[in-house]
């Protein structure tokens, strides 16, 4: 396939802007698509061309593959980058692009079908010899069967509803004696919640970490792993902070996880960027969780520590070029942390906070990167994901990256809507986070605690009251007035003026 000259980005928000920046650096023209509420969105302003898709609802705009292909045809785009979310893991859309003669910058539909489905991916993982969380694959018929299976894999185990999700129908079981009541409890809860009482069991991984491996594969059978990302700081299964590298992954574990992930990808004919997610237990055993067949939100931390531009690599791979690096040329240098800034209110149940951004002050300085989708004057729509921006800090060490991030957060201000900016300060100052004592339950436990007095006493209450009063009566002088009386130049100038 020839060189890509024009890319349509079938997405919105910061990732669309991110992809367009890579295109611009490569001399590729860019096409944005937008819904009615996104006409003035940053991704439209960042593009060379823009086409309307439809009303605000994603189902009538960003999920309408046929409209997107029509825009590609109208604009003469020869490739489509799907970003993440929306159509990025839709195998039918990838196939439709291929049929329309447009390059889909991502894996082929066939590979997506094998690795994107949870059950098929598990089968593929078994064939590739990847470790999985041990457990029964089918429903358990009786308490006796549950006791037998649990005895085989070893306690503690977790009973889970086969039809379930959201924590319903789940019971941790620490020994055979508890199985009877736990089995009945889980089963009846599952029956009530999902209409099916079928339960299965898995080994309970205590305090697991969520660690994932970034992959990049070309069309010539080469595949490399670009290190790992630590994504254990989560709230309600949503990642909040990601970092690279992970504090618990050394060279040997990185190699073992990386090679397992590469094996899985190659076994399914995978091409382009992808991520294999693992759970890692306290003994540093790793278990396959699932594969994400797309570029991930948190890809910048990998870019920072490898020095590679993943989006440019995606585009080069999509136009048929071989990978620009071999595995032994990939080195991890320094440490990067990413904070996902959401339009939500940590002081009020994390309720979403869409609306008009009245002021925006963004941080800068060495090692700070921001992938942002908003500006002052932009109205954050309520139809889409609440992520506003990704703030990334890089440093030689984790400690330096944390301090840089704290500094950047203190410079960051979003006015008009609530954001979770204040939450990051609390996490980054927390002893548990600083000593890397984190797992997927870490943040929920931290949020259940009352913030320490030290965190609250940064500014005295009296000063806060005075500042409020000054704003209320607006009696402090404006900066021009201060400059007038204090600037020697102005005084000298006036004196000169008098003399003339």
């Amino acid at each position: 396939m020839g060189e890509i000259r024009k890319v349509l980005v079938a997405n919105r928000g910061e990732i669309a802007v991110r992809v367009m920046r890579a295109c611009r650096e490569m001399g590729i023209r860019t096409v944005a698509v937008y819904s009615d509420v996104d006409r003035a969105a940053l991704h439209v302003l960042a593009a060379d061309e823009a086409y309307r898709l439809g009303p605000a609802a994603a189902s009538e705009s960003y999920l309408r593959g046929e409209l997107i292909l029509e825009a590609a045809k109208l604009s003469g785009a020869d490739a489509i980058h799907p970003g993440y979310g929306f159509l990025s893991e839709n195998a039918d859309f990838a196939d439709a692009c291929a049929e329309a003669g447009v390059v889909f910058i991502g894996p082929p539909g066939a590979a997506m079908r094998v690795l994107g489905s949870k059950t098929k991916a598990r089968q593929a993982a078994d064939r590739a010899g990847m470790p999985r969380v041990p457990g029964s694959v089918t429903g358990l018929g009786s308490v006796e069967e549950a006791v037998r299976v649990a005895g085989e894999i070893g306690y503690p185990v977790m009973l889970k509803a086969a039809a379930g999700g959201g924590g319903k129908g789940m019971r941790a079981v620490w020994g055979a004696g508890e199985m009877g009541s736990a089995f009945l409890g889980a089963s009846s809860e599952a029956e009530r919640s999902f209409g099916s009482g079928e339960v299965y069991l898995e080994k309970l991984i205590e305090r697991p970490r969520h660690i994932e491996i970034q992959l990049m594969a070309d069309q010539h059978g080469n595949c490399v792993y670009l290190g790992e990302r630590e994504c254990s700081v989560q709230r309600r299964h949503q990642k909040v902070i990601e970092e690279a590298p992970s504090a618990v992954v050394g060279p040997a574990l990185r190699k073992a996880m990386g090679e397992a992930a590469v094996r899985l990808a190659l076994s399914a004919g995978y091409v382009n960027a992808g991520t294999v997610e693992f759970l890692v237990d306290e003994a540093r055993n790793f278990y396959f969780l699932e594969m994400n067949t797309r570029l991930q939100v948190e890809h910048p931390v990998t870019e920072m520590v490898t020095g590679l531009d993943l989006v440019k690599m995606q585009i080069r791979v999509a136009q048929g070029e071989p990978l620009p690096v071999t595995q032994d040329q990939i080195a991890i240098r320094g440490h990067a942390i990413e904070c996902r800034i959401y339009a939500e209110d940590p002081e009020n149940n994390f309720f979403p906070s869409p609306g008009l951004i009245t002021a925006l002050r963004q941080p800068g300085g060495p090692g700070i990167r921001e992938d942002c989708a908003v500006y002052a004057g932009w109205r954050v729509p309520l139809e889409y994901d609440p992520m506003l921006s990704k703030l990334v800090a890089y440093g030689e060490t984790r400690e330096v990256a944390i301090e840089r991030m704290l500094g950047a957060l203190s410079e960051y201000f979003v006015g008009g809507i609530r954001t979770n900016v204040g939450l990051f300060r609390r996490i980054l100052m927390d002893e548990g986070f600083r000593t890397t004592a984190i797992d997927t339950g870490y943040l929920e436990r931290l949020l259940a605690e009352v913030p320490s007095v030290v965190e609250q006493a940064e500014v005295s209450e009296d000063l806060a009251a005075v500042v409020c009063a000054l704003f209320a009566v607006a009696s402090a002088p404006r900066v021009e007035a201060v400059a007038e009386v204090s600037s020697g130049w102005a005084v000298a100038g006036r004196r000169e003026g008098l003399r003339a």
């Binding site: 609440p386 009696s475 002088p477």
Partner: protein, 162 residues
């Protein structure tokens, strides 16, 4: 001049100079302090106190000082509500209000239902997330002001519990 404020839940009497000036002698409930304040642009102020410089931002009904958000409101000490203590008691009807704009996706209760404090009343979807809005008190649902599919704005009354 005197400014009565409720700051972070506490009522205080703040004295600030009425005239403009850089070094301002202020007091909070009689505790005096001198602050050097400078407005950089509307809603943005730099304050120097005891040599320490703090950037302060006005954001609606709150200020952000050194990264910390402090909600405040002015009140009139002579008003009836302020003397009564302001807050609505546990008695009487209490509304369930929308804390954000969104779309009603589910009504968890019907008029006449008994609810516990903290029990879900209405579920609103915004930004791809469903948010359960809970009853502020134990009681009976006396009114449901919305239906499934309705779009609501911040502060809209969704239901009333008595």
């Amino acid at each position: 001049m005197t400014v009565w404020l409720e700051v972070g839940g506490k009522k205080v009497r703040v004295e600030v100079p009425a005239a403009e000036g850089a070094d301002l002698v202020c007091s909070v409930d009689g505790r005096e302090m001198v602050v050097n304040a400078c407005v950089l642009e509307p809603g943005v102020m730099s304050v120097v106190i005891d040599g320490r410089q703090v950037r302060c931002l006005l954001d609606g009904d709150a200020v952000v000082i050194g990264g910390r958000r402090v909600a405040f409101s002015r009140f009139d000490p002579r008003s009836l509500a302020a003397r009564r203590g302001g807050a609505e008691g546990a008695d009487g009807p209490r509304p369930v209000k929308a804390p954000m704009p969104g779309r009603v996706v589910r009504l968890a209760v019907a008029v006449g239902d008994a609810v516990e404090q903290g029990e879900a009343v209405v579920v609103i979807e915004a930004m791809k997330m469903q948010n359960e809005l809970k009853s502020p008190k134990a009681g009976t649902v006396v009114r449901l002001a919305v239906g499934v599919g309705d779009t609501v704005g911040v502060g809209d009354v969704l239901a009333v519990i008595e």
